[in-house]
Amino acid sequence: MTATTPVAITGVGVVSAAVTGDSRALGAFLAVPAAPGVDVLAPGALASLVHPDEARRLSRVCQMTISAARLALHESGLDPACGLGLVVGTEFGDLASTHAFADGFLERGPAGLSALLFPNTVMNTMVATTAIAVGARDMALTLNAPTVAGELAVARAAAAVASGRVPAVLAGGVDEVDAVVERELAHLGLGRERRAEGATLLVLEPAAAARARGARVLGEIGGAAWRALSARPWGVGGTRTSRAVDAALDIAAAQARDLGWVYASCSGDDARDRWEAELLDAVLPPAAPVATLARLLGRHAGLGALRVAAAAWTARSGLLPVTNGTTRVERVRPGRGLVHGLARGGLQVALVMDAA
């Protein structure tokens, strides 16, 4: 995004252990937020959201993505035939299929290899199957990043919509809990972050086009940007210059003092969380309230997009779920706020959010 070209959110699809549904379901959850007792989807949770044939053929993470996509498109009322792109962020992709594929070989040699599983070992399998399921035939990207993949996908998609290259984009993130990764992180003593699974996808389109077709605009992305801050691979840095935030504010023609609240990516990774807090302290107005949904819902790539959808809800309602020790809902200034993401390695993402 390089100029003030508001991008509207017209549909939300969320699939997670805590909440599954569209923007209304998400709003109802955020108004009375409560951590779910589990971090993984209940068995059968996707049964009503995918076709029986899809349930039989597709991996679980692909089913999550398709489910969220259908929920978002249904709420939006957008016809994919008018030109629909797809941008999905993920940290680990379909790692479960990769393990299964490798295990087939380790157990039975070449005869144990599954030609059906192999395509799932490529990280774009969720985009490929979702494009088929919903008929998205324009640009389709899978973005890989730790921690911020979901909000990065939304930011990238917003830029594509703002540039006019694609009429509308389904954008968001997805991850599933992977048993091998969780086992090894716990074994290494690195399991402090709350990790979970789920998918969130949003329908983005030019605000003017959305209004022209009579769509309900749930919120607007006034500016979105991502930048690499100086840091070693997987390390945290020392800079307090938030270049992505500066760029997003510039695109939105906004000032930092305009930001009434923030959704941050703070997730329980102490060193990364401290760096993010320092960056936000340096740029935000004093006492701007900060919401950190990862402590409530667990970190996964879908959460980044869920925070964008939640920010649209906050911009509309003036309510912000705060999870600092206890979980409560605070009244904040409706309207303009910020979605912020920061990953180890220094990738920073910022989206300036506005009410419709």
């Binding site: 995004m1 390089t2 940290e91 680990f92 992709g93 790692l95 990769t98 594929f101 490798a102 070989f105 040699g109 070449p110 290899l113 599954s114 030609a115 192999f118 395509p119 070992t121 490529v122 990280m123 774009n124 399998t125 985009v127 490929a128 199957t129 494009a131 088929i132 008929g135 998205a136 035939r137 324009d138 640009m139 389709a140 990207l141 899978t142 973005l143 890989n144 730790p146 990065l152 990238r156 830029a159 594509a160 540039s163 990764v181 090894e184 992180l185 074994h187 290494l188 940007a225 991502w226 930048r227 690499a228 100086s230 840091a231 070693r232 691979p233 997987w234 390695g345 220094g346 990738l347």
Partner: protein, 394 residues
């Protein structure tokens, strides 16, 4: 929209390190597909691949794919002669599929064998394709927008297209874009399982073709806003005049039979470049050597350019399918073809398939006046990309 030019090239290919070795091998029609040594291939129908010979750049502690990326990216940045100040604002877009999977597999195999879990953290980190971008950004202090795209076999081309959009939209003046993949067990075994590998070196566009050959490598390109390149008097190899990205939305592994998605990608690239089909003289085809892909790509090329409307070749016939690196290495081959006025050949092509109604430049490179050329890349999931280059500052 700002015009986008190419001002730096870097390659780590099955011919070895560097763009000079890469072009020399392509122009000579040398097939670098040989017996596979990196991983065990006992019991598989195909036992060949195109490996990058050593020595590799970077520390031996890094993953093989990281080292390939470091070599190619370092060459491209040095070629473009960017100052540290310019690099601090440079965007980085990397196309990757396997990440450090080769090393993660070794860890997983060892654990399955004897329960040894040492090195788990490195394995978990390395397996992410985004690891390459973090390595490159930290090494050269690239501070612009950074992202990693995974679109299967078209990843390297998508990275170039993504970087071009960042420049065209005025987000940055300079971007480093490329693709990288090392050979992995998963990839080799998977394509074997799909029965898509030819036991002999691949023969794209040949009536007897039996599948692809896998390879590895890295290709990186420095893209720059034309005005910025002019202002610093940078050498300009070519203009990236247009690109198209589409999705088949048809099948996870098979291309849409009519080639509609490929046709749309090529037409979008032409439209954005303001080019007529007759202006395009050469297509560096995706040309994997599978019966289905080559036939459908041939049909799509004929739909857009007319039968025999341009020269077509597949450099995969010489370096194999380098996966995420393919789109960028082939873009580099296309840029070099424009610069040298030479079309690299399709090696191993003995009997052209009449279903591909073009002169596919069999076995020997061809001198030809080239002003405009395209590079096609298609990936699993029907992810189609076309890059359109014009020679110099067109």
């Amino acid at each position: 929209m700002k015009r986008v030019v190419v001002t730096g090239l870097g390659a780590a290919s099955p011919y070895g390190a560097g763009v000079v070795a890469y072009w020399k091998g392509l122009a000579a029609g040398d097939c670098a597909i040989r017996a596979l040594t990196l991983i065990e291939s006992e019991g598989f129908r195909c036992r060949i691949a195109a490996e990058v010979p050593g020595p590799l750049a970077g520390s031996a502690r890094r993953t093989r794919a990281d080292r390939l990326a470091i070599g190619a990216a370092g060459e491209a940045l040095a070629d473009a002669r960017l100052s540290p100040r310019e690099r601090a604002r440079t965007a980085l877009v990397v196309g990757a599929v396997g990440g450090g999977m080769l090393e993660a597999e070794a860890w997983y195999w060892r654990g399955a064998d004897d329960g040894d879990r040492r090195g788990a953290l490195q394995a978990v980190r390395a397996v992410l394709p985004t690891a390459h971008a973090e390595t490159l950004a930290a090494r050269w202090r690239l501070g612009g927008p950074r992202h990693t795209v995974v679109t299967a076999c078209s990843s390297g081309a998508v990275a170039v297209a993504e970087a071009a959009e960042l420049i065209a939209d005025g987000v940055v003046d300079v971007a480093l874009a490329g693709g990288v993949d090392a050979i992995t067990r998963i990839c080799f075994m998977g394509f074997n399982a799909l029965k898509l590998l030819d036991p002999a070196p691949c023969r794209p566009f040949d009536v007897e073709r039996r599948g692809m050959s896998i390879g590895e490598g890295a290709g990186f390109i420095v893209l720059e806003a034309e005005a910025h390149a002019r202002a610093r008097r940078a050498r300009v190899y070519a203009t990236l005049a247009g690109h198209g990205m589409t999705t088949d939305a048809y099948h996870v592994t098979a291309p849409e039979p009519s080639g509609d998605g490929m046709v749309r990608a090529m037409r979008v690239a032409l439209e954005r470049a303001g080019a007529a089909p007759s202006e395009v003289h050469y297509a560096n085809a995706h040309g994997t050597g599978t019966p289905q892909n080559d036939r459908i790509e041939g049909r799509a090329l004929a739909t857009v350019f007319g039968e025999g409307g341009l020269l077509v070749s597949s450099t995969k016939s010489m370096i194999g399918h380098t996966m995420a690196a393919a789109g960028t290495l082939e873009a580099i081959a296309t840029v070099l073809a424009l610069g040298h006025g030479t079309v690299p050949p399709t090696a191993n092509l003995a009997t052209p398939d009449p279903d591909v109604p073009f002169d596919c430049v069999p076995r020997v490179a061809r001198s030809a006046p080239l002003a405009c050329a395209i590079s096609n890349s298609f990936g699993f999931g029907g992810q189609n990309v076309t890059l359109l280059f014009r020679h110099g500052l067109a």
